[in-house]
């Protein structure tokens, strides 16, 4: 498709220049973080002069990853976000299926209501939630955090799954019903397998959001050993000085990488699910 008039080629050039400048802005933090994480303490003080360290070292990563506490934080983060994401999707499946297949009054209102719930900051509900959970002795439990993740992630999951279910042809379901399947069998045997990309996208997105979540575990989990990585690096940052910047950079990179990698690898699938959701929404 390239080619065309002179004006079009100037336009191409302008596009590249604009995107190039923006790419510098968006890439700099990642590049710099990597650079810092590979430096020895002495090179930290050299600033931009040592973007590519003269004596690159993996020692910072080795020190971070050999700390058993750090591995526990990573594992906690993974565990909480995966369980929370799974719960959100599990809760969203019946709701999304109903919104997609059944005609009931005020369906639009329900969908808008779900969206409205999404707009409430966790900050707002956490103050009373903390008191309640304290009263019910539910603080410091992974299950409490997972339950809240499930509730927080559900609205977005409902929207994404509804769009995914809408794309499954009604005829296939009708054929199954003619063959004697009931609604539940249709859902589990036909619709869910066909909506697998949508399910996966919803799960990954919920999981990535949970991975970033700071407030919920910060408030509900008081014991050091229960913390996920997001809370741990915040605490770690309070304890570092200039001489340990390279360690903080390495820790940040380790904390950021899982989410970024998953997203980059699966981005085609996730972006198309998001776009489909955005168009319908």
């Amino acid at each position: 498709m390239t080619g065309g008039g002179r004006a079009a080629r100037i336009g191409d050039l302008a596009s590249y220049v604009a995107l190039g400048l923006l790419a510098v802005f968006f890439a700099t933090p990642f590049i710099w973080l990597t650079s810092l994480a590979l430096r020895t303490p002495a090179e930290i003080y050299l600033g931009a002069a040592r973007l590519i360290p003269e004596a690159p070292t993996l020692g910072n990563f080795a020190r971070i990853l050999s700390d058993p506490a750090f591995l526990i934080y990573l594992w906690n983060g993974l565990k909480l976000s995966a369980l929370g994401g799974a719960l959100a999707v599990a809760l969203a499946i019946p709701a999304a299926y109903a919104c997609s297949r059944l005609d009931f009054r005020r369906k639009q209102a329900v969908l808008i209501g779900i969206l409205a719930v999404q707009m409430i900051s966790p900050l707002v509900i956490l103050v009373p939630l903390y008191r309640w959970m304290g009263a019910l002795d539910l603080l410091n439990l992974d299950a409490s955090v997972v339950a809240i993740y499930g509730a927080l992630g559900m609205p977005l999951a409902v929207w994404l799954l509804k769009v995914a279910f809408d794309a499954v042809p009604l005829e296939i379901e009708e054929a199954a019903i003619v063959d004697g399947a009931n609604r539940f069998q249709v859902l589990t045997r036909i619709t869910l397998p066909l909506a697998r990309p949508g399910l996966a996208s919803a799960f990954i997105l919920a999981m990535v959001m949970n991975w970033s979540q700071f407030l919920v575990p910060f408030i509900l989990l008081e014991r050091d050993a229960d913390w996920p990585i997001s809370v741990a690096i915040f605490n770690f940052a309070g304890a570092v000085s200039a001489s340990t910047t390279q360690l903080l950079a390495a820790a940040c990179l380790v904390a950021v990488m899982p989410a970024v990698l998953v997203f980059v690898l699966l981005q085609r699938m996730i972006v198309s699910a998001l776009i489909a959701g955005a168009v319908k929404g």
Binding site: D12, L19, F26, L33, P94, V127
Partner: protein, 274 residues
């Protein structure tokens, strides 16, 4: 079976709506006293001012940059230019960085020591060091930059989706009529993206209002209260000062603003459907 599939989500919705409604109801030991004390708090006007400024700048900047990126990518894809997906991926990668990590990363970039990233880069250009985080006004700018880095992806996706939803025939006709790029943008793209922009404005406003973890890690609200937005003020009131009553009032304020904006979205959608 029908009743089951109808009932589960509706019950769940009732549960959610119910929990939200009661959860924000203030605790029992609450009286108007706390509200009065809080409203007379000299810090509150400043916090509200900072919040308005921070939110307004972000909402405009996020959307302008997001729209520009989305339109450029759509154009690039139509022209078959390479690297569009790679660029989109880069922007999205910033989006999934946890808020706390975002604050910490930018704190390293804004490091004011001579060896700090941006200052040492500026020194190459012969420019003096900038007090990124210790100057009250500059700190707010820095917070906006960090938020822009992370938040642009959302607007980009929304506008990208909306732009691709526009019938290409309109553009073909405009090209036949000899309309220039600016005229096409003003007469076709902008009017047809109006709903998307309206809805996105509200969504981004709510998101920005609720942002506090990146600011917490970046500046902690300082210097002084220069970057302390309402959400962070709420967090500090509850978890630094352990003032649950005051925090509840602030949370209620935050909730009311969010709901008012959500109602606005509903209004827009209703009008669009009619």
């Amino acid at each position: 079976m029908l009743a089951l599939f109808y009932g589960v989500p509706v019950l769940d919705m009732v549960r959610l709506a119910f929990s939200d409604a009661t959860l924000v109801r203030p605790p029992e030991d609450y009286s108007f006293k706390a509200m009065g004390v809080l409203l007379r708090d000299p810090a509150l006007p400043q916090v509200i001012g900072t919040t308005l400024l921070f939110t307004a700048i972000n909402v405009v900047a996020l959307q302008v940059v997001g729209l520009a990126i989305a339109l450029t990518i759509v154009r690039g894809e139509a022209r078959g230019l390479r690297g569009m997906t790679a660029f989109r991926t880069l922007v999205l990668a910033a989006w999934v960085v946890p808020g706390i990590a975002n604050g910490l990363i930018w704190q390293m970039l804004f490091d004011e020591a001579p060896y700090g990233t941006l200052n040492s880069l500026l020194a190459y250009g012969g420019l003096g060091p900038v007090a990124w985080l210790s100057d009250p006004q500059m700190a707010l700018v820095s917070a906006v930059i960090a938020n822009l880095w992370q938040g642009t992806a959302f607007s980009m996706i929304v506008f990208y989706a909306a732009r691709r939803g526009i019938d290409p025939v309109l553009y073909d006709v405009a090209a036949l009529d000899g309309a220039g790029p600016w005229r096409i943008f003003r007469s076709i793209t902008l009017p047809l993206l109006r709903t998307a922009i309206a809805v996105n404005t509200v969504l981004v406003t709510v998101q920005t209002l609720n942002t506090f973890d990146s600011i917490l890690a970046l500046t902690g609200g300082g210097p002084g209260r220069a970057t302390e937005v309402l959400a962070l003020f709420t967090f500090n009131t509850v978890f630094q000062n352990l003032d649950l009553a005051g925090g509840s009032v602030l949370a209620l304020l935050l909730f009311a603003i969010s709901m008012a904006l959500a109602a606005l979205v509903h209004g827009w959608r209703g009008r669009g459907a009619a």
